[in-house]
Symmetry: C2
Amino acid sequence: MKAKVLKLLREINGQYISGEKISSELSCSRTMVWKYIKALREDGYVIEAVSNKGYKLVSISNHLSDHEIRSRLGNDHLFKEISYHEEVESTQNIAQKLINQGAGSGTVVIANEQTSGRGRLGRDWFSPKDKGIWMSLILKPEITLREAPQLTLLAAVAVTRAISSVCSISSEIKWPNDILVDGKKVCGILTEMQADPDRIKSVIIGIGINVNQTDFPSSIANIATSLAKARGEQVERSELIIQILNEFQWLYEAYLAKGFSFIKPLWEVNAISIGKKIVATTAQGRLTGIAEGINDEGVLILRDDNGKVHHIYSGDITIPKD
Amino acid sequence: MKAKVLKLLREINGQYISGEKISSELSCSRTMVWKYIKALREDGYVIEAVSNKGYKLVSISNHLSDHEIRSRLGNDHLFKEISYHEEVESTQNIAQKLINQGAGSGTVVIANEQTSGRGRLGRDWFSPKDKGIWMSLILKPEITLREAPQLTLLAAVAVTRAISSVCSISSEIKWPNDILVDGKKVCGILTEMQADPDRIKSVIIGIGINVNQTDFPSSIANIATSLAKARGEQVERSELIIQILNEFQWLYEAYLAKGFSFIKPLWEVNAISIGKKIVATTAQGRLTGIAEGINDEGVLILRDDNGKVHHIYSGDITIPKD
């Protein structure tokens, strides 16, 4: 109900809405409306109340919450369920538990803090309280095992586009799953799945974004940055989350209808590594050469110094400085 | 302890072993030895007791049990943990739960009955009480997402080899996961995994074998058979389980060391479909042609009537009757 009250306050777009209007729209008493307004104020929302005019939303809370996110998503959104948590070990683990309990496609797990955030290849992901976006998307697409890594690329496109529209800064994708601003990492994407050789049963796309950090631990200070550092001012996390979910929605629907060939050019236009000399570290060893692009499956194509073409399915790439 | 007593009885190989020997080997009292012998008899084992000679195992129980399986596995076997159940919905689901609880590579889930046994593509698998082998192997190999389907082929080789040595009947593999005797299905293999694009985290290989059924529901009577029907006599399930686990162990170790190229010829020698005209039904549609074989990845190669070569990653194949 807090989400519904918030949605009405937001929809009136800086104007006043009367308590009577809210109570009739939501079929609840004026006293209940007052209780929800009070609860929202306690959450950090600034809501003006003027006699004979009603309530006006002056500023939203910088605190993340499920009602904040829910109040901003359309009713027929791909992402229908928001599972919000103040502190979790890892949103990926929560998502896995929800799947085991029968959670459907379109569930989003969001946390204000992760105590054991995970990155690719078993690495840690630093996820401090109040500062970032730590979320996991649950999806159950009808795609094959080989197509699953394409969802990582799709998510990277959604995030770069959302960063551009919300923060007005440009970001670049480093194959397969990192998003950089000014050459430093602001976002990592971790796609995990349950599958059999015939089909994907569920996918969890973890998205970790450094949003409002001003400092980083010394171990990552040289390689990590935040959107706020790059932009020079704080970013409203819930706005960015909504924009990512909206971008993801249309890209995902186009992908399911038209295949990865629709996503490929959108990915390439934001990719930092294409056409450059790269070093790829894979399970099979180390390769150096020019990253020619990705193929129609999303696999990275590397041409080595002898002109031999290699397909990189997984691995780490680095772009050596000249 | 029952498993240890059983192991001693088995190792003496049809001879008598004294109660004193058992009690000293297992560091327990003679009274306890007697209690274990009594418990084993209640489980259906026929154990002769003769004064001044001791105990002799005359015949084993036809009832499956964890101590029966455990007493037959070597101490340094790949499969170290046996999780035995009288009745489960699905051994795959139990295996998934065990993984969530931290079960390690080499755990085997075995059930005497499955009430909701699962096959490929969401199909049911008929798994009646006392009659079959319904088991799931948990493994955590360091392989890539694309290599995972190879484990289905490896498991099929292990099962055909075990059937041959225990039952002295030959069986054939229909790509990718069915094992046929006299053209009818005796075994299905369902490989499920948790993975990210970089690596497999865990694999559950489900193996369902029709062992001692004499009748099948009318819906599958035309396409299913059992080893007992083909052989003309009952098969000891625990012996077949042990043989499958033993075959699996050496094939798996060779596979991890040498790759799929080691498994490929062993698979091909038992494959029914190679060189024959097949119909493949895939997510992309229906294809007819000659099955030329599998490639080094385990992917089925089909040459259609126009000579065009197709790679079949997943799907159903049928072998039309001439």
